[in-house]
Symmetry: D2
Subunit: 135 residues, 4 copies
Amino acid sequence: MTDIAAMLDAYPAGLNGIDQDALILCVQECHNCAQTCVACADACLREPDRADLTRCAGVALICADIVDVTSRTVVRVSGYDGAVVRSLLQTCVEACRACYEECRRHALNHEHCRICGDACHRCAHACRELLATVR
Amino acid sequence: MTDIAAMLDAYPAGLNGIDQDALILCVQECHNCAQTCVACADACLREPDRADLTRCAGVALICADIVDVTSRTVVRVSGYDGAVVRSLLQTCVEACRACYEECRRHALNHEHCRICGDACHRCAHACRELLATVR
Amino acid sequence: MTDIAAMLDAYPAGLNGIDQDALILCVQECHNCAQTCVACADACLREPDRADLTRCAGVALICADIVDVTSRTVVRVSGYDGAVVRSLLQTCVEACRACYEECRRHALNHEHCRICGDACHRCAHACRELLATVR
Amino acid sequence: MTDIAAMLDAYPAGLNGIDQDALILCVQECHNCAQTCVACADACLREPDRADLTRCAGVALICADIVDVTSRTVVRVSGYDGAVVRSLLQTCVEACRACYEECRRHALNHEHCRICGDACHRCAHACRELLATVR
């Protein structure tokens, strides 16, 4: 069992009706995506064709910040507000979609873009799954 | 002129059609709101009636993170994606609304909640004004 | 292989002499620790004995922010500055030490504090290991 | 009076002996510096001579994250730990120093680098002033 799963098991109150498995998967994918986005933006700056990758770096930096705040917000049970969580998860899906679309354009030439795009795709899916359980 | 206004004047490309004055006001209000939310959450933990303020601390921590990432994202012109920015500004309005509603309940008893609630109210307004200019 | 390991393999330049295995472990432990700290702070707010846990929540929130920025900074190869990375890793060790010490005081009564304290302990160790390789 | 100054006046406990004026100035300069660093990194990506500005963008992104977490940490009175605050302020001084040094190299050609470098310089000074009051 991962630490975050054990933490949620030990939580001293209910999880506002949120599905625990969907929550854990969302947190894990958000954190993985945050890592790949920060690293991909940095790698884009170092490529010889960096002029073509400017937008990719910019999109990845935005996505990194949004997935990071999403991963924190969804485990903050005490300040839970359904409208905020739903809106943030939708924003996270958009950010992952934008980064996936941009990374995919460079995936054949740059392995870091391929890995990052795949991470964004999985993260968007996990956010959508969690969103379906939030009231 | 503030530093961020001077930075935007010096920006080497267009601002994707976003209104510069609305952008600057949004960044300033988001940063001010981030400060009050972090400080209000911390102050709530120290009050003798902290049991009543648990939710207020939780909501303020979520709002602090969301206004912070909003203030960063809107100045990231290179990775601009209209759908992402619009969705994030809407999320920011929701987070400020939730924190304002909770802070207002404690504003008569706790000056830090009154100040924080007012900051959230102004921040939500600035986000809505900017949102109206984003395509 | 994890995504971050694959990203670093695909990095288009050297890693400034940093040991890749130590870097990956540090990023993973920082992210795990960020998750447990955010969740532990939130759980502390909900406990019946929250008055005793006020400081634990405060320390965990600080630690969560510092491990988060550490995990981002160490993979940012492009802006590498040895003095900055060393100083930040030392700060991260201090933040984990402070959170571990506080969580340990409540570990017998609160499983979330036990898990979080262990995560901080491992994170501090991973930061020290990485620190030993940074020039 | 700024909101953060009013918040600290309303704080329900002492500030652990930290000088309130130095604290407020540090928070304000950190937030201003966070804004200029995020904007400068983004602007660097868009310049025709972006190859020369790769390192500047990277350093500014690291500095943006570190000043941001510093501004949050110093107002978190509940989880105060002198060793953590001192170490973080020293890290913040290093990050501002690194960004100032890099920005200064491009200040004649790029106004955004000049503004950002000046902001880093003032922020480092404010952190040092606060550091002198932290025990």
